[in-house]
């Protein structure tokens, strides 16, 4: 606990110190990075100490009339781990990513908010009562809002930031309502299970649903995800990485926290979470396929991965409800391990996207290409991240998906509607896997392979050293988890230790068998691959090797424009999901003109949830507001009359 507090202090200091060093940019950057790294290292020590101590360590102090209390249980540990691992690397990356001379004040301010966001996230995970949680939650939302506003000169950035603020605040509003309901029923702000578990089932369900609205919109579960694809492209890349990799997971954390607080193993929770997960997972990846802006595409992949995490948690809830605790443990552990894995590979991918944008100034897939030769380090680490996020062995994404599959297959012993849900979950997970690899072959293939499609892409240069180091380290961690999964699977299961319904479960036999088998499969694959590579080298010894242009099937005038584009690559799949994805195509072609003339084709994909929100919520609200406009007329006398009237009403009512 002490380590954690010192770490928190160091992180806060890393935000404040640069304020004093505004004029000396490099020093400010150095101090910020160093203090933040120290803070995160202390935090990791603290987590290790907390996990060794076993018991739930806590600490509380008074503030106004409330007492604020912090504690670290196993669940919080698991959510803090990616935070402390990823953030120092992000700061390292930002060392050379953020502007140097002209934007000093802005850079320093962004450091302050970055540290504040980190500290707030640590506090959210450690909060042991509602007041602490809510205060930290709000600081987290506001700090991230200000970070998104980094490039505030652009109208698009401001719009995205406002949309994000709107969502995060209405989400917070829902969370407040849920907490208010809890407080009204129990009379206590503390997250203690005894009082809460005695509540009636219907109240628990209401609280869960209201809280889910808030936490779901933070996590970016469909259809509450609308802010994500707007905010991520607008924010600087390391901020997107932090928000997408770590912050949105706190939505899942909040949901799990509430679920375990309510301590009500009913089927209905799984029936809500599983379809939500499937919807987010499948539609997230389909929209990602349809989008051709690198960062927007990655944002939709965050939605997909939140879907996978929710599917894991949903299977866990189903297991608890059905009394199958082994299945429950595998579901939750798979979901929680995916939280860590997604934090790693999604940060890596966002950093890669940032490097591309930094070097070419382009975010559109269809104007990039051939970057593998121009940016070899970025390309290789991005490729690693892509394989990881597609859930393919021998990288980390596969390990967590395997655990979720395992939970799913254990769930096939259920009957009736539960069985249908489990089958649908397994099928969706398989489908997501296939679609994700389709999406990332598109990404890698169009951006990094082939020939450059524009002058900017042709002139691209490798990212700067600090950025490269951050990406290489993240890629290495992804590979590490894939090749040595045992300690990480162990950590995911250890994360369930302090959760009441799963605490007494002894699974070490199955878990160690599975870890051993997955390790064996990964190493076997690697050994065979190395063997075959050696064989190939031997086969090529003394053979003539020539370089030539790509075989154009008889066409000799090939240029880079005839390559397949991202749009054409994804067209078939997006078409398949047509009713769920709205594609608008504009074709100004040769119609009616017998002679060749300039033609134009473009396609754009709309998000159904966005359209739905516009039709069902914002338009009615605007309509009502327009009808009430007569109240606002600018005559001071009437405004004074309103005030007088209001006072009279209040007095009479009191």
């Amino acid at each position: 606990m002490n380590f954690l507090l010192f770490g928190l202090f160091s992180i806060l200091l890393s935000g404040l110190a640069p304020l004093l060093l505004v004029r000396r940019t490099h020093l400010a950057k150095g101090v910020h990075s160093a203090l933040l790294a120290v803070g995160c290292a202390l935090g990791l020590c603290g987590l290790y100490a907390a996990s060794q101590a076993g018991a739930n360590t806590s600490l509380s102090f008074a503030w106004l009339t409330f007492s604020l209390s912090l504690s670290v249980d196993s669940l919080a540990t698991l959510f803090l781990m990616p935070l402390f691992i990823v953030s120092p690397l992000l700061v390292l990356y930002s060392y050379q990513y953020l502007g140097t001379s002209q934007h000093t004040v802005r850079t320093v301010a962004s450091y302050l908010f970055f540290s504040l966001l980190l500290a707030a996230m640590v506090l959210v995970s450690m909060a042991a009562d509602m007041i602490t949680f809510v205060v930290a939650w709000e600081i987290m939302s506001l700090a991230s809002f200000l970070l998104v506003l980094y490039d505030w000169e652009h109208l698009q950035t401001r719009k995205a930031a406002h949309l994000y603020l709107l969502f995060t605040q209405s989400g917070a509003f829902c969370i407040f309502i849920a907490f208010a309901l809890l407080f009204a029923a129990t009379g206590s702000f503390s997250f203690s299970t005894e009082a809460i578990s005695a509540l009636p089932h219907s109240l628990k369900l209401t609280i869960f649903l209201v809280a889910l609205l808030g936490f779901g919109s933070k996590a970016g579960a469909m259809p509450l995800h609308i802010w994500l694809p707007h905010a991520h492209p607008a924010a600087p890349s390391h901020v997107s990485a932090l928000m997408s990799g770590v912050m949105i997971k706190l939505g899942v954390y909040g949901m799990l926290r509430i679920y375990f607080l309510l301590d009500d193993p009913a089927f209905i929770f799984a029936w809500i979470i599983l379809p939500l997960g499937m919807l987010s997972g499948v539609l997230g990846v389909v929209y990602a396929l349809a989008k051709h802006d690198i960062k927007r595409l990655l944002a939709y992949h965050s939605i997909e991965n939140i879907g996978i995490i929710l599917m894991g948690c949903g299977l866990g809830m189903l297991g608890l409800a059905a009394g199958d605790r082994v299945m429950a443990a595998f579901g939750f552990a798979g979901g929680l391990l995916h939280v860590l894995n997604h934090a790693l590979f999604k940060s890596l991918l966002f950093l890669g996207a940032g490097a591309i944008q930094h070097s070419t100034g382009i975010r559109k897939l269809d104007t990039l290409g051939g970057l593998m030769r121009r940016m070899p380090v970025t390309g290789r680490s991005f490729l690693t991240g892509s394989v990881a996020i597609s859930g393919l062995p021998p990288l980390n994404g596969f390990i967590s998906e395997f655990l979720i599959y395992y939970a799913g297959f254990l769930g096939l012993r259920l009957t009736g509607f539960n069985l249908v849900l489990v089958i649908a979950t397994i099928i969706s997970l398989a489908m997501i896997g296939g679609l994700a690899s389709a999406c990332f072959t598109k990404m890698v293939g169009i951006v990094f392979l082939g020939e450059p499609r524009s002058k900017e892409a042709a002139l691209a240069t490798e990212a700067k050293p600090a950025m490269r180091v951050a990406m290489i380290l993240l890629a290495c961690i992804c590979l590490l988890i894939g090749l040595f999964p045992a300690p990480f699977i162990g950590a995911a299961f250890a994360g369930l230790r302090d959760l009441a319904p799963l605490s007494s479960l002894m699974l070490s036999d199955i878990v160690s068998t599975i870890s051993r088998n997955l390790t064996m499969a990964a190493w076997l694959f690697l050994a065979l691959l190395l063997g075959l590579t050696g064989l190939r080298r031997w086969l090529y010894q003394g053979k003539p090797i020539q370089r030539g242009s790509t075989w154009g099937c008889g066409f000799t005038q090939a240029n880079s424009r005839i390559q397949y584009t991202a749009s054409s690559y994804a067209m078939d799949i997006v078409d398949f999901f047509r009713p769920l994805v709205r594609v608008r195509t504009v074709y100004k072609g040769l119609a009616g003109n017998p002679l060749p003339s300039p033609a134009e084709y473009s396609s754009k994909t709309d998000d159904l949830a966005e359209i739905g929100l516009q039709h069902l919520l914002s338009q009615p609200v605007l309509w009502c507001a327009a009808k009430l406009r007569w109240i606002q007329h600018g005559r001071i006398q009437s405004y004074i009359a309103y005030i007088v009237l209001a006072i009279i009403v209040v007095l009479l009512a009191a």
């Binding site: 099928i427 076997l524 053979k543």
Partner: protein, 307 residues
Amino acid sequence: MQSVLSLILAFLLIPLLPGIILKTKALFTGKKGPPLLIKYYTLIKLLRKGSVYSTSTTFVFALGPLISCTTAAMALLFFPIAWVKPVLSFQGDIIVLLYLFGLGRFFTIAAALDTASPFEGMGAAREAFFSTLSEITLFGVLILFFRMNGSLSLGGYFAGPAPLSFAGTEAALLVLVVVGLFMVLLAENSRVPVDDPTTHLELTMIHEAMILDHSGPDLALIELGAYCKLFFYAAFVACLLKPPHLNLGFVSATLLFYGLIFLVYAAIGITESVTARLKMPKVAKYLLTSFALVFFAIILTSMELIQ
């Protein structure tokens, strides 16, 4: 010992088997056809050659053949060839294998896009789409098998304590699975009616379009990987067709197994001879049909439990 022996035998025979398809097709068209050992000759010819690499390509282009061949060959280590206990087996190995196939596909597609050729991009896009759909059917089969014998490994399905066999009520379900799996086999191994390996128009190809630029030993690796993958699927179907209540020794089981394998390959040849390639937009329906068959079988198992 027996497992290693049958694995080695399988690796030796794998390039022979596609010859059966060619012979069958030749028989149907009244030709003599190429010699049965044609694929061995092809491999030797390719291994003797050098390669031409496109100036557009990077290291990913060379990784494609390596990874696709590795993953396909690795799958056979886990397969109970001739119902003999596989060399390696664990609960969940089939998921790992399917995902390894996915890894092979990922790099095959990446290698195709690496050449900057529009034809290869087209083939890659189709491969990415269709394989997603066939994956659903395969996972449907896993769900069904788990409900039938509680196992999640290839060894458990065919060489475990309660192996699947073509008997009783199970046979009815397995008929659906065999048909569904055979349809997926055709799609995943780029056979008619999904893909035509012998077509000469790049626009209508899927797999062949993706490997247009590979040559020499690289192409040999791809071919070898493709034979292994075809064998994997064919063996999967063949294992399901085992007649019930049959206690066979190692030799007779191996003979029966290769007899069934021969039938599957001949069936592929017959299918290729009597059907034409589907239009591309129809392929999705074709693959969903295979899923529907398997899903129907899953529903039937649930009905059993409810009663």
